[in-house]
């Protein structure tokens, strides 16, 4: 098991939590001040995910881009392959807020959803 330091982001103190992990087992060693921090460090060590927000090209819209987000946090190691697929995509105006712009992006089971409306 390897030791690594995880900066907690739950509150602005930003404790540097020392953990021991091999990707499936986890032990918090030092640096944490509260339970929330330990829980965060655990999820970061075993299954780090990130909410993804970016843009998709709009065809024939009032604006050239629509802002989008992932329907769920994306596994960190899949971020760039998801981004790569999003870059190649486009959507025709009008786009509604909440509209699914890409289904099951990069085979993650996660959708890419429009976060604003773009009219024709």
């Amino acid at each position: 098991m390897a030791k690594k330091e995880i900066t907690c982001i739950v509150c602005p103190i930003g404790c540097k939590i020392l953990v021991k992990t091999d990707g499936s087992k986890f032990e918090a060693l030092d640096g944490f001040r509260c339970k929330r921090g330990v829980e965060y460090a655990k999820s970061e060590a075993l299954d780090p995910r990130r909410m993804l927000t970016t843009s998709v090209l709009v065809i024939d819209g009032k604006w050239p881009l629509v802002s989008v987000k992932s329907s769920k946090p994306v596994p960190k190691d899949k971020l760039f392959s998801v981004l790569s697929e999003i870059k190649k995509a486009d959507v025709k105006a009008p786009v509604k807020l909440g509209q699914v712009v890409i289904k099951n992006v990069a085979k993650t089971g996660i959708n890419i959803i429009a976060t604003k409306e773009v009219n024709k």
């Binding site: 900066t7 982001i9 602005p12 927000t53 970016t54 807020l97 604003k116 409306e117």
Partner: protein
């Protein structure tokens, strides 16, 4: 010339203006009009496509446009009217607003006005960075607008000056769009943005953070070619010999925000030296009766959630037809480790929302509010930081005002 007669005029349809308008309606105002210079509603939120908005307020983390939309829907449901792509040229002490748009000039008579003009970004010359004047230098917000709204990327090899949230968010945004983000330069010994953003925007992508550093020279004949960064000592003076040139083609400046008060200045509203925004009382009323201020033009907020609390107070009071006769007026005095307090004036008893910023970071400290030697409020603060606004509610009793003593607000330690 079109003339309007309305109850509450809100200048700015960003998050503050929208929340104030909704609150004005909810508190009985009949005709509420929001005026905005852009052809979209939501102000700056339209380009803030990242999430993290509304967590405290709603429990869910929204993107900027989603948060804006939430308020736009509420406003529309409440029958708030909008004048978009309309620029307010000015208003007078009698709350007569002059505005212009593609349909002509407009004179808007308002019973009360809520100022919600937001802020502008500090520029290179505000901190006088010497060197050449090439293209490739952008403030972070402008770069964000180009990338997210106009489908334009400003550069390939990026250096960011300033580790506030805007700078950190842009580091990640540019990384996502294939740019080479060479580093974020920060003059303080710590990042001024949230740790969450340091981790998720810098650490995640191995983008270096140069703490205790600043940009001392900009070089480039036509387009930016390099910036020189140098280490600073604890007095923020450059340490000679520590200079390092970084080859780049783009410099993003995330130097801080300045409340936008051109309109307020022009009509003689008293502006506070430290906040850069109007001096206000607990109703967020400025020195001109029935003119209120909220949002980033009042003070620069960290989160939209807290901003909305104050915006709703401003909107509510803009709507109230009768404001009880003012009692004695007392001031809030920033004491030890407190940089400023909003509101600066208290002239009515009741539940008062106070926000302040500390001067220096610290941990395990206590906040005190004292009137005439008596503590009327205290709060334990596990951590404090100038980049994180402290806000709380205090119940101000009649007797505090009757005594006429200013309120001291200070921190232990």
């Amino acid at each position: 010339m079109t003339e309007y007669d309305i109850d509450v005029a809100v200048i700015g349809a960003g998050p503050a203006g929208l929340a104030a308008a909704v609150s004005a309606k909810e508190n009985g105002a009949k005709k509420v009009t929001v005026i905005d210079r852009n052809n979209w509603l939501g102000g700056i939120l339209s380009q803030c496509i990242h999430d993290g908005f509304g967590v405290e307020e709603t429990g869910s983390s929204m993107t900027g446009p989603e948060y804006a939309n939430m308020y736009i829907e509420m406003a529309k449901k409440q029958d708030v009217s909008f004048l978009d792509e309309t620029m307010v040229l000015g208003f007078d002490k009698n709350r007569l607003i002059t505005a212009v748009n593609k349909n002509g000039n407009h004179k808007i008579k308002a019973k009360s006005i809520v100022l919600a003009m937001g802020c502008r970004e500090k520029t290179r010359w505000n901190i006088m960075i010497p060197g050449n004047r090439p293209s490739g230098i952008f403030t972070a917000g402008v770069a964000q607008a180009f990338i997210n709204l106009y489908n334009i990327i400003p550069g390939k090899n990026i250096v960011i000056l300033g580790s506030g949230d805007v700078g950190l968010i842009m580091a990640r945004r540019l990384k996502f769009e294939g740019a080479n983000v060479l580093g974020v330069v920060e003059i303080l010994p710590y990042a001024s943005g949230l740790p969450r953003n340091v981790v998720q925007c810098l650490d995640d992508y191995d983008i270096p953070l140069f703490l205790n550093h600043t940009v001392t020279f900009i070089e480039g004949k036509d387009r930016l070619e390099s910036v020189t960064i140098a280490k600073v000592d604890k007095n923020r003076n450059v340490i000679n010999g520590s200079e390092k040139k970084i080859k780049c083609d783009t410099l993003l400046l995330s130097l801080g925000l300045i409340p936008e008060n051109e309109l307020s200045n022009n009509v003689g509203i008293k502006i506070h030296e430290v906040t850069g925004g109007p001096v206000v009382n607990q109703f967020l009323e400025t020195t001109i009766p029935s003119v209120f201020a909220c949002g980033n033009c009042l003070q620069v907020y960290d989160t939209v959630d807290v901003l909305s609390i104050d915006a709703k107070i401003a909107g509510k009071n803009a709507a109230e037809k009768t404001i009880s006769k003012k009692k004695k007026s007392i001031k809030t005095i920033p004491g030890k480790n407190v940089r400023y307090v909003v509101p600066q004036i208290v002239d009515q008893p009741g539940k008062t929302h106070i926000s302040l910023r500390v001067e220096k970071p610290g941990e395990s400290t206590k906040l005190h509010v004292i009137s005439d030697g008596n503590e009327i409020f205290s709060k334990k603060l596990p951590w404090i930081n100038p980049a994180n606004m402290v806000e709380f509610n205090v119940d101000i009793q009649d007797i505090v005002l009757d005594k006429g003593h200013d309120l001291e607000v200070y921190l232990d330690g």
